[in-house]
Symmetry: C2
Subunit: 335 residues, 2 copies
Amino acid sequence: MRDCIDIHTHVVPESFPPYAGRNANVPWPSMAEAQACHKHVMISGKVYRTVADGCWSVPRRIEEMGAMGVGRQAISPMPELLSYWLPLDDARTMIRYLNDQIAAMIEQAPEHFVGLGAVPLQDDDAALKELHYVLKDLKFQGVEIASHVNGTSIGDARFEPFFAECERLGAAIFVHALRPAGQDRIVGPFPEQAVCFPGDIALACASMITGGIAARHPKLRIAFSHGGGGMAILLPRLVHAWKMFPKAKASLPESPEIAARRFYYDELVFEPRAIRFLLETFGENQICLGTDYPFAMGDLAPMKTLEKAGLDREMLKRIAFKNARRFLGLPAASR
Amino acid sequence: MRDCIDIHTHVVPESFPPYAGRNANVPWPSMAEAQACHKHVMISGKVYRTVADGCWSVPRRIEEMGAMGVGRQAISPMPELLSYWLPLDDARTMIRYLNDQIAAMIEQAPEHFVGLGAVPLQDDDAALKELHYVLKDLKFQGVEIASHVNGTSIGDARFEPFFAECERLGAAIFVHALRPAGQDRIVGPFPEQAVCFPGDIALACASMITGGIAARHPKLRIAFSHGGGGMAILLPRLVHAWKMFPKAKASLPESPEIAARRFYYDELVFEPRAIRFLLETFGENQICLGTDYPFAMGDLAPMKTLEKAGLDREMLKRIAFKNARRFLGLPAASR
C-alpha cells in the first residue's frame, strides 16, 4: 500500500490571486465559500464545480490517501484550469501560479507527491519555457495536458516540437479529457465528464497515432486518462483502416497497435472486466492506478476495484506502482 | 452457415433518378462509372465513395455471402443516403426510392434478405408515414436510423413518438454512426468512419439511456452498429454517474446498465478479445453478427473472427443467428 502510486489526481488551489491582467472579460477563476470543507470554483460568475478541501489541503489529502490505500500521488491541475483559451499573458500567469501551488504542496510532503505541471500549449515558445521551468526549477516528473487545444487535437503537427522536447527531457505526459467532443449530443442531466470524456480521450490518443507523432517519438512517455476511453475498442478498427486504406498505410510506418501498446493508460474504468480488457489490449506493463481523486467521477476505492479484477500478485503490483514508476520516471526502488 | 444472419450490411442503388425537385443546391446523389464492377457515388460534384457492385447486384451479393458464410442479410441503405439534411420533399422522394430499391432486391431473393428501411427522421409525421409504409406495404423487419439527426441525438425527446410507434409495431431499429462527432479532431489520412464512428455510436447509445427513452420503452428492439463503439467502456462510467449525481439518479428509474443490456449490438470490432468483452458487458443474448458488407471498413471474414474468439458452440449460434432472429423479429425456425 505504501508503494501504490496514483497517476490521476487533481489539485485546485484554495484561492486564486485576483485578476491583475489587462484584458477584458477574461474567465479568470476564483474560489467562493461553500458548505464545510468545500469551496465553489467560480468562473465567469457561475459555479463551475464545488470541490472538497482534498483539492488543496495536504493533511486532508494524506488522510484520504491512507483510506484509499494510495502511498503517492501524481498531482496535476483540475483540467478546466489549464487555460488554453485565455489570452497568453493571463494563461502564463495562471499556469505559473498553479505550478507553484503544486510545488508548495509537494514541499509539504515530498514522499507523498510528485508533480505534473501545466503548460500554456496555445503558444509553442511559452509552453517550452514553462516545460523547462516545471522540470528543472520545480523538479516535477512531467506535465498534464488536455486532449486538445481549443479544438485542435494534440496529435496535430503544431505540437510536435513540444512532444519532441518532452521526449528529449524525459518528461512524463499525462493527457486528460477536457471540453469534450460530442458535448452537444448529451441528452438528460448527466454531466459532460460522465458521458463524453471516454470518447474525447480516445480521439486524442488516436490523433497521436494517426498523425505520426507517436511513431516519430517512440521514447515519449505518455499516459491517457480514463483508461484511454473508447481507445481499447477503437484500436482494432484503426489497425483495420491502416491495412485497408493505402494513404493511411503510407503515412504510418508501424501498425497503430505498436504505438498504442507503448502508451500508458490509467485504469479508471470502474469495472473489473473493463480493467482486464485494458490489460489484454494494451499490455500488462502499460496500465497504471489512476483515480481522479478527489472528484465525484473518481474511484475512491481503487484497491477494491483492482481486487475484484482477479489479478495475480505480480499483475497487481504492476498496476499499483511498477508501471507508474516507469511512466513517471521514478527510480524502481525510490523508497 | 445457411442459418447465419448478418444484421449490418448496406445497399447503394445502381442508379438514382435525376433530381426532379424544386429546391436549389440540393446534394442529390448520382452514380458515375468507375473501374470494373464499381461505381462512384457522386454528391455535390465530388466522389463521396467508390463502391462495388455488391451494393446493388443480388447475384454478386449472394455469391459473396456464400464466401463469407452468411445465409441471410438485413439490408439497409448506406448511411450517407439517409437524407436527414435534405429539404423534406426531396428527402421523402429519395427515401421512398431507397426503400423500393431494397424491396426489389428482397423480391429477387426473399430467402436471403430482410429489409431495414429508411425514414425521414427530420420530420415526425413523415417519419411515421414511411415507417408504416416499410413495415406494412414492404413487409420490412424494421428501419435503419443514424446516431443523430442533424446534430440532435436520437435520445432527444422529439424522437420519442417515433420510438413509441416502433415499439408498438414491433419494428427492429438498427442505429448506425453517421457524420460523426469529433470529425474535426482527426489528424492524418484516416477516414472519419475509421476514427470517429465508435465514439459517435456510443453517444447515440448513451443518449437513448440518459434521456430516458430506453427506460420508458422497454420493449423496443434496437441494435447499435460497430459493437456500440466505446459504449462497452463508457457504460460503467454512466452507472457511476447515475449513482453519484442526484439529478441523474432522479431522472432515471433504472441503472443505465439495465437498458444497455436490453439493447442489441453487432460484433463489428475486429478483435476476438473485443467480442468477448462485448459479450461480458452486454450479455450473450445481445450480440449479433454484423459485417458492414460490402464496404472497406467491413469484416468480410466474420466467421473466422468469431472462431478466433474461442466461443462454445451454443454461444456461436447465438451470435451467428439466434440473437439476430430475436432482434429482427424473425421466427425461430424461419427456414
